[in-house]
Structure formats: structure tokens, C-alpha cells
């Protein structure tokens, strides 16, 4: 199986220590996930469930207080495997932007306000390619042209662009070196719906043209439905369900996913939408067993005691819920 990045039994905690008090926030607790070559993988979930942290680990941007407590994290480029956790900083720097790129959340301040866009492009390209200013300018202009953006943006300052334009430029900046893996952290947040659509289309276009792999973090299920090949649902630092997009939307198996899908408005259905009762738990002290069981309408006794394992339902559909695995087990073979 050709994967591009793989996390195994990953545990990433935020550990802070001050005045003799240690706080541990278990932002990612035992997650295994494979990112396949050429796919668009979406990561969904409520705020504070570990989405951004997972992205940080995937980027190899592990700075204190975030610490990897267990598990492994690998990249594969061509035939070479790279262990992110033991890679040297220099190696990682070389890989970043040229192989693994990042579209930050909210492009408002991503571009240096006192430098023209063209200079920013130049700075980012020469870090990885040995080119002079004319060549980088040509390269950036060509690339912007291919994305349907006017080359004029090269000569303006970021504040002269609209929010949507700025986000598009940021996407262009992140993908100008044709990276294999692109990670986007809520790329459509703070944009209006129309602009969102344009940005989503641009992302898809870039991914298809360059054959790159896109990992997308968002809590906008609409964006997921539009873009993703596969969707991973995170809840309280755990992977609760992962499947192809249609399966997640048509036949979700985990109660949390079911809630998420049911909360979406539908054209033909005008009834009120219900939200999930309760709030997500603090990651400092998550509930025992299945982390969703205090909010789950179908909670069994076992849910409060044991952690449900990720069960394969075939076709790449995996769920961590006793409702599914118990039923499976009780079926007479």
C-alpha cells in the first residue's frame, strides 16, 4: 500500500509545568492514521478535539509544550522513509515547503504586510531552489497564471488584496514548489460562502493538477463533502471513525458521526436540527472508556470501562464503537 505519511499509535500531549504543578492535555491519544498518495483526506471534529494538533504532528512541527509521548510518525517520499520524530531539524527544513507544505489558518497575517507578494514568493522559493530574482519571478508568475490568478498580484502589498484573494495567493505560495503533501488548516475559515467556494475549487484544482496529497482540517462539513475522498472524525483526541466520504455521509456508524451528519441542514427537510447534548470533555481529564459515552444516547455498560478499539468494517471503513464491534461479535459465525 502506498502511503505518504503514516502515524502509528501516536500520542501527543501538551505538557506544561509551572510552580510545581504539571498539566497534561492529551490532545492526541493513540491515533493511527495513514495518508495515501494522491488522496484528499479531511479531518473533522468539534473545536478542541485535536485536529490542529494532529496537523502539527503531521507537519513535524513539534515544539514545546507539545510533546510526542508515544508512537511513530513516518513520511515516505519515493522509496525513502523518513521518521519524523527522529529527523534532524535541518533535514526537516529541507523537506518542508518543497515536499510538505502548509496552508495556514486565516491568511490575514501570513503574508508580510510590508513586502510585496513577489518578494515573498522570491524569499520562499530561493530557500529551496538556487534561482535568481528573475527566475523566481517567472516561476511564480507562471504558477499564478496556471491557477488563474493575475500576475499583477506580484507587485502589490498584501493589504491591497481582498480576503479571498489573499487566501488564494497563500495557497499558491504554499504549493508553488509542487509539494507532495499539502496540509491545510481551516483554509476557508473567515471567508464568506461565495469566496469559500472559489477557494475550495482552487484547492481541488491544485491537488488534481499536481497530483499532490491534501490533508484538510476544517469543522465545516460542507467543505468536507465538497473536497474529501476520505473523512476522519476526531473526538476528544481520538479517531472515532474514518471512511470514504459517501459512507460517512450516507451510513455513519459511530453515534458521534451520526450526530454530526444529522445536524447538517438538508434541502428537503425543514425540521429543526438538534445539536449534540453536552459539551466535549476537557482533554486534561477525559472520561474513562469511550470518551463519547457521557453524551452518547446508546451508551452500553462496557463503554464506561473499556476503550473501544478501531474496528474494520471493510472497504476502508473503520469505527471505534462497541455498538458496532459488539454487534459484530455477537453475530453467530
Amino acid at each position: 500500500m502506498s502511503f505518504l505519511a503514516e502515524a502509528k499509535d501516536l500520542r501527543a500531549y501538551y505538557i506544561t509545568r509551572s510552580y510545581g504543578v504539571e498539566r497534561t492535555v492529551k490532545a492526541i491519544d493513540d491515533i493511527s492514521i495513514q495518508i495515501k498518495e494522491g488522496e484528499i483526506l479531511s479531518i473533522a471534529g468539534e473545536s478542541g478535539c485535536g485536529k490542529s494538533t494532529l496537523l502539527k504532528v503531521l507537519l513535524g512541527a513539534i515544539d514545546p509544550p507539545l510533546r510526542i509521548v508515544g508512537g511513530t510518525m513516518q513520511y515516505r517520499f519515493g522509496e525513502d522513509y523518513y521518521d519524523v520524530l527522529s529527523m534532524s531539524v535541518d533535514d526537516l527544513k529541507k523537506k518542508r515547503w518543497s515536499q510538505i507544505s502548509y496552508i495556514p489558518q486565516g491568511s490575514m497575517h501570513v503574508l508580510n504586510p510590508v513586502r510585496k507578494i513577489g518578494n515573498t514568493f522570491h524569499d520562499f522559493i530561493v530557500t529551496h531552489r538556487d534561482l535568481d530574482k528573475q527566475e523566481t519571478g517567472k516561476m511564480a508568475r507562471n504558477y499564478l497564471g496556471r491557477l488563474g490568478l493575475s500576475a499583477e498580484v506580484m507587485n502589490v502589498y498584501p493589504h491591497q488584496l481582498s480576503g479571498g484573494m489573499r487566501q488564494r495567493v497563500t495557497i499558491a505560495l504554499a504549493t508553488v514548489l509542487s509539494p507532495k503533501l499539502v496540509l491545510a488548516d481551516e483554509p476557508t475559515t473567515a471567508l464568506d460562502v461565495l469566496v469559500q467556494r472559489g477557494v475550495v475549487q482552487l484547492l481541488k484544482e491544485v491537488q488534481q493538477r499536481e497530483g499532490s496529497t491534501l490533508v484538510l482540517v476544517s469543522h465545516d462539513m460542507g467543505v468536507h463533502a465538497n473536497l474529501a475522498d476520505r473523512i476522519a472524525i476526531l473526538y476528544a483526541g481520538k479517531l472515532v471513525e474514518i471512511a470514504k466520504t459517501e459512507r460517512i455521509f450516507n451510513s455513519p456508524t459511530h453515534p458521534y458521526t451520526q450526530y454530526l451528519i444529522e445536524s447538517l441542514p438538508r434541502l428537503d427537510d425543514k425540521s429543526d436540527r438538534t445539536s449534540i447534548p453536552g459539551r466535549p470533555p476537557t482533554l486534561e481529564n477525559p472520561p474513562k472508556g469511550c470518551r463519547f459515552h457521557p453524551r452518547c444516547p446508546h451508551a452500553l455498560e462496557v463503554c464506561g470501562q473499556k476503550v473501544p478499539p478501531l474496528t474494520d468494517l471493510g472497504n476502508g471503513h473503520q469505527t471505534a464503537c462497541f455498538l458496532v464491534s459488539e454487534v459484530d461479535n455477537s453475530e453467530p459465525g
Binding site: 527544513k93 495556514p104 497575517h109 501570513v110 508580510n112 524569499d123 530557500t127 502589498y157
Partner: protein
């Protein structure tokens, strides 16, 4: 050069400032052609009102006010310039080093800086001047002013750096693999330079003011003509009471012009160098 020409053409404040500064430098360069030595006394009739022979009059010590003023402005500018050069360059290094290093280095440096900041500068200068009793020549004064002008500014530069290194675009640049030196040079300097320019001019003006203050109090080398010592000697011989205002008017008006000119230049330059305000002005004029 093109920037300066553009500014001169289109920015009224810059034009005014530049013209005055040019005049000031013209005055300074005239000092090299003075018919009298800088420290010479009793070379012209005393206490003459401005006339064709002595366009700004003469002092009670028998000096020509105009030629004395050329020396005075030259010396004052040199003292202030040297003080700024010493003070602010060390301040920039100290502040940005402290800001970029952070952590323990920052803590140690800042506690040293803090302990100097709490010392009030004017009383300290007066104290030192009293102790050396006029033995402080112009260079000594410049050094002292420069030294005292390290700590507050370094704090400001550090705060700029601290803010810059937490900006989103810095993170993006770091993430993209750009090395630290390039980030400082290409991403941060464009922010920092306009600030530094405006700030250095304010330091320059502070140093001129301090020199004048100390001289008026009679605390530095009074034999050398500076703007401050001209006022001191004018007061000493009762220029105000005996209505020989021309003795005081020349240095006072001269210093006001210098201050205003440098202020105008600094604000217009920093406004121009910041693309946001520049483009705002462009947009407004269209």
C-alpha cells in the same frame, strides 16, 4: 536617491524639513571660512546690535554672533550625532539580540537594562558634570549622552523584535525553512528600519536638548561654542535684562529650526517607508 527626489517633489513636510536642514548645513560649512577662531574673544566691538558689519550683532565678549553661531551649531550637531551613533547602535544590537535570543539571555540582559533605566538621566548628568567641574569636553559629553541613551531605546527595539517574531508571517517563514538571518534581514528589517529612523531622530533631538540644558546650567566645557554655551554666556552677561536680545535670539531660533526640520524629515520618511501609510496617502490623493 529617487525616493528622496520623489519625497522632495510631493511631500510638503519633507520639502520644508529638507530645505531647513540644507540651510543648517550651509551655516555649519560656513564655519570653516570664519574670519575668527572659534574660541577667540574681544575681536570685534562689544554689544553691537545687528548691522551690516555684524549681521547678527556681537556679544558682550566681543564675538560676532553670526560666525559664533556657525561654530555653535557645528559643535552641537557633532555632539548630538556622535551621541546618537554610539547610543542607538549599541541599543539596536542590545535590544534585538535580547529580543531574538529570549529566555535566560534576555532575562539577564533585561535586568541589567532595567537597573539603568531606573536611574533618572538628567540628575545623573548634572551630578557627573558637577563632579568633573567643566572638565568634560565635547567628546566626553557625547560619549556620556550616548551611554545614557542606550537603555530606554534598547527596550523599545526589543519590544519591536518580540512582536515581530510572534507574527504569523514569521512562523510561516520559519516553517518554510528560511534561515534565521534571512528572516531578520528580509522579513523583519523592512518593519524595523522606519521605526529606527524615526526613533534615531528623536534621540538626536534629545541629545541636542541635553547638551543645551547642561550648558545653560554651566556644567560642561564653556570655552567651546555650542548652542547651549551661547545661551549660557548671553545669560551670564545679562543679555535679557540689558535688552541685547540678538545674543539669545540667534541660538534659540537656530535650535528651534533644527528640531523642527529633523522632526519633519523623520515623520515624512517613516511615513513614506511604511507601505501601508504611503498607499493610504496615494489612495486619498487619487
Amino acid at each position: 536617491m529617487k525616493i528622496l527626489r520623489d519625497l522632495f517633489k510631493h511631500h510638503l513636510a519633507f520639502r520644508a524639513g529638507a530645505v531647513i536642514v540644507l540651510l543648517v548645513f550651509l551655516l555649519v560649512s560656513l564655519s570653516f571660512f570664519s574670519p575668527y577662531e572659534a574660541t577667540e574673544r574681544r575681536v570685534v566691538p562689544k554689544n553691537q546690535a545687528p548691522s551690516l558689519n555684524h549681521i547678527l550683532g556681537t556679544t558682550a565678549l566681543g564675538q560676532d554672533v553670526f560666525w559664533l553661531l556657525t561654530f555653535a551649531i557645528r559643535n552641537s550637531l557633532m555632539v548630538a550625532g556622535l551621541a546618537v551613533l554610539i547610543g542607538r547602535s549599541i541599543a539596536v544590537l542590545l535590544g534585538s539580540f535580547s529580543g531574538y535570543m529570549g529566555g535566560g539571555v534576555d532575562k539577564v540582559l533585561q535586568s541589567i537594562v532595567d537597573s539603568f533605566i531606573v536611574i533618572p538621566r538628567l540628575p545623573l548628568l548634572i551630578l557627573i558634570s558637577v563632579i568633573v567641574k567643566g572638565g568634560l569636553n565635547l567628546w566626553g559629553l557625547a560619549l556620556l549622552l550616548g551611554f545614557l541613551d542606550i537603555f530606554w531605546p534598547s527596550k523599545r527595539y526589543r519590544s519591536q523584535i518580540l512582536s515581530l517574531r510572534e507574527r504569523e508571517f514569521t512562523y510561516t517563514a520559519v516553517f518554510s525553512g528560511m534561515n534565521t538571518f534571512n528572516i531578520i534581514l528580509k522579513e523583519h528589517f523592512p518593519f524595523f528600519i522606519p521605526y529606527l529612523l524615526a526613533d534615531a531622530v528623536s534621540g538626536f533631538l534629545w541629545a541636542i536638548g541635553m547638551e543645551i540644558t547642561l550648558a545653560i546650567l554651566g556644567l560642561c566645557d564653556l570655552t567651546r561654542p555650542t548652542i547651549g554655551t551661547m545661551i549660557y554666556w548671553g545669560n551670564y552677561y545679562q543679555a535679557l535684562l540689558s535688552q541685547r536680545l540678538w545674543v539669545l535670539a540667534a541660538p534659540v531660533i537656530g535650535s528651534i529650526f533644527i528640531v523642527v526640520a529633523f522632526y519633519l524629515i523623520s515623520t515624512s520618511l517613516s511615513e513614506y517607508l511604511d507601505p501601508r501609510t504611503r498607499l493610504k496617502r496615494l489612495g486619498a490623493s487619487q
